[in-house]
Symmetry: C2
DNA sequence: CGTAGGACCTCCCGTCACGGGAGGTTCAAG
DNA sequence: CTTGAACCTCCCGTGACGGGAGGTCCTACG
C-alpha cells in the first residue's frame, strides 16, 4: 500500500511540484487519495499514469493530446502520425527560415541588412488589394516552406545585383542581364507565371512607384528595380 | 501629408487591427498623431517602422528582440547570429524528436506503443537521486539532440529484441548476443561509460525490480531485461 | 513534549503575441 | 439626417506552467 507524497513523486519523476499541481488542476493526473488534512497521496495507479503522461509529453504532444491519447477511445497510432506530420512540417519551415537568415548574414553588410529587409517587406505588400488576395492564396497553396525558399533565392539575387550596382557594372553587362532574367523567373513564381499578372505587376510598379514613394514617405527602392529594368531592356 | 487609419494600415500590411493595437500598447509601433476624437493617424515614419517590424518578425524574432534590433544601440548582425544559432538548435531538436516518433511508428504494434514508452520512462527515472543528478548533467552536456538520438537508437534495439523474443529466438543465438552487446554499448553512453555506475545500475535493477514492481503496481518490464541478461551470459 | 523549519495547501498574478467580445463613440456615404 | 462601418478602451482567454503570498501541517531534534 505504498503512497507517494507530491514532493517525493516530483523528485522521482524529475517534474516539479508545480507541474503536478497543474496536472491535478486540469484533471490529467490526480492523487486518488488525500490525508485527513488534505495532503495528496499518489497511488501506484496514479504514478503509472504520470509516467505515461511524461513519456507522451516527451514526444511533444500537448496535454490535451496526451489526455485523449490516454482516454483510449482514440488509439495512439493516428495521434503519433499526426504528430509526425506536424513535426515534419515544422522542421521544414524552421529550416527554411534558418537558411534565409544564413543567406542574409552571408554577404550583406551590416548597414544593408535592414534596408534589404525593408525593401522585401514593402515589395511584398505593395500590390493592389486584388493582387494581394491572389498572392496570399497562392502563398497558401505553395506552403510556407516553399515561400521561404523563394524568399531565400530572392535574397541571393538582391545581394548579387546590389554588388554589381556598387561595383559600377553597367546594367548591359551579360552577367547582370542574366541576373535580371533570374529576377523575372523568380517573379514569375511569385505571380504564378501568368504573364498577364506579371505585366500588370510590372506596370503597377512603374505607374505607382512615385505615388507609393510619396505616400509611404521614403523612396520605395534604391534604384535596384530601375537597374534591373535597364538590364531587361538589353536582352 | 498622408496619414493612415488603423484599418487601412492593417489592410495594406496584412496584419490585423488587433495586432496594431497590440504594437501600440507595448510601445513598439505607435501612431504619432491622433484626430481630435482620438482616432490613430499613422505617419509615413510610423508606417516605415511597421514594415521594419514586420520584416524582422518574419525572421522569427520576438517583439522584444525586434525592439532592441530597431533601437540601433545593438546592431542587427549579432541578433541575427543568435537567431540563426537558436533556429539551428531548434531544427536539430525537432528533427531528432521526429525521427524518434518515426522509428516508434515503424515496427511497433499499436498495443506495444504505450508499453514501450512506459518502460523507457520508468527505466529513465529508475536510478538513485545521485545517479539521476549525474545522468541529468551528462544529458545537459551532451545536448538534447544527442539524447534524442540515443533514445531513437534505443527504440530500434528494443524493437529488434522484442521481435526475437516474439519469434522464440533463443537468447544464446548469435544475433541476439550481438544485440545485447549493442544494448550494453548504448547503456555505456547513457551512464558515461563508467563501468562502476553501469554495474550499479545493473545491480540496482536486479535488486530492486521486485520491490519497484510492487511499489509502482505493475511489472516493470516484460522479460526484456532478463532475456538480454541471458544473451549477455552467452558471450 | 515543545518547537523549528521544511513540506504542503489554496489562491492569484505573470508569461507571449495576440484573438475576440462588450459597450460605447465617431466617421462617411447615401 | 440616418445608418452602418470603423474606431475607441477595457477586459478575459489561450498553454503549460513559474513564482510568490499567506496560511496549515508534518516530523525530527532537543
Amino acid at each position: 500500500m505504498t503512497r507517494w507524497s507530491i514532493g517525493d513523486l516530483a523528485k522521482a519523476s524529475g517534474l516539479t511540484v508545480r507541474t503536478l499541481y497543474h496536472y491535478d488542476e486540469i484533471g490529467l493526473v490526480s492523487a486518488s487519495e488525500r490525508t485527513a488534512s488534505g495532503h495528496r497521496r499518489y497511488t501506484p495507479d496514479d504514478v503509472r499514469r504520470l509516467y505515461q503522461v511524461r513519456s507522451l509529453r516527451q514526444l511533444g504532444l500537448s496535454l490535451e493530446e496526451v489526455r485523449s491519447a490516454l482516454s483510449r477511445s482514440d488509439s495512439l497510432r493516428p495521434i503519433f502520425e499526426a504528430q509526425l506530420a506536424a513535426l515534419t512540417t515544422q522542421v521544414q519551415q524552421v529550416d527554411a527560415l534558418r537558411s534565409r537568415i544564413a543567406s542574409l548574414l552571408d554577404g550583406h553588410t551590416t548597414e544593408s541588412l535592414l534596408s534589404t529587409l525593408e525593401m522585401m517587406s514593402v515589395y511584398e505588400s505593395y500590390f493592389t488589394a486584388d493582387q494581394l488576395n491572389d498572392l496570399r492564396s497562392r502563398a497558401a497553396s505553395m506552403g510556407p516552406e516553399a515561400v521561404e525558399a523563394l524568399k531565400a533565392s530572392w535574397l541571393e539575387l538582391v545581394k548579387e545585383i546590389r554588388q554589381h550596382m556598387a561595383d559600377g557594372t553597367p546594367p548591359t553587362d551579360p552577367r547582370v542581364v542574366e541576373l535580371s532574367r533570374q529576377w523575372d523567373e523568380l517573379g514569375a513564381k511569385f505571380t504564378g507565371g501568368d504573364p498577364g499578372i506579371q505585366a500588370a505587376a510590372q506596370r503597377s510598379w512603374n505607374e505607382n512607384k512615385p505615388a507609393i514613394s510619396s505616400q509611404i514617405g521614403w523612396p520605395a527602392d534604391d534604384g535596384l528595380v530601375d537597374y534591373i529594368g535597364q538590364a531587361r531592356a538589353a536582352r
